[in-house]
Symmetry: C2
Subunit: 105 residues, 2 copies
């Protein structure tokens, strides 16, 4: 049985967010996302076809929704319905933020 | 937007494992499982209808498969195919082991 660690192989510097698919099935996929001080570009909003259940494993982050700012710390999770517009306002600059995201229909 | 923390509301003592469904859909569900020194009963083997992708978030554990013993620490994840017989041999007795499990078809 093969074992992988979600906190391993985190690059020390990243120009862009690092997205790695851990499991993919017809109706959902599991991804690891590593942010290193990344935020969404000015004016950019995610408007996703799929729902996203996302757990912040390490670091801290601020997610902006159209009427809400959500501050997340390690262990916090949130369910983002499809087409709920949001952006990543801020992630910890001094350590990587590591997310586990489950995208589903 | 509603935020929950995966590490919160962990009872200090548990007679049995605590299983909480975080999200359930037609083809998969996400659960939080809290073990507190629990192991599978002597001679008991899980033989599950669904596949299980499981991430150990906190604590340590030993999973036994028929031909393998897998020692897991925080952050390790493993994909257990349906009907792959396994048992929980050991979990940390001095702190809760917290798992995130995704069961899927």
């Amino acid at each position: 049985m093969s074992l992988t660690n979600i906190f391993s192989d985190v690059p020390s510097a990243l120009r862009d967010e690092l997205v790695q698919v851990l499991l993919t099935k017809a109706d959902f996929r599991i991804e690891r996302i590593v942010s290193h001080g990344h935020a969404s570009p000015e004016g950019f909003w995610y408007d996703q076809e799929q729902n996203e259940w996302v757990l912040l494993l390490k670091g801290a982050a601020k997610l902006r929704f159209e009427n809400d700012l959500v501050e997340m710390k390690s262990g916090d999770f949130i369910n983002i319905p499809a087409h709920r517009r949001h952006r990543v306002e801020w992630t910890t600059p001094d350590e990587p933020a590591i997310w586990l995201a489950v995208f589903y229909e």
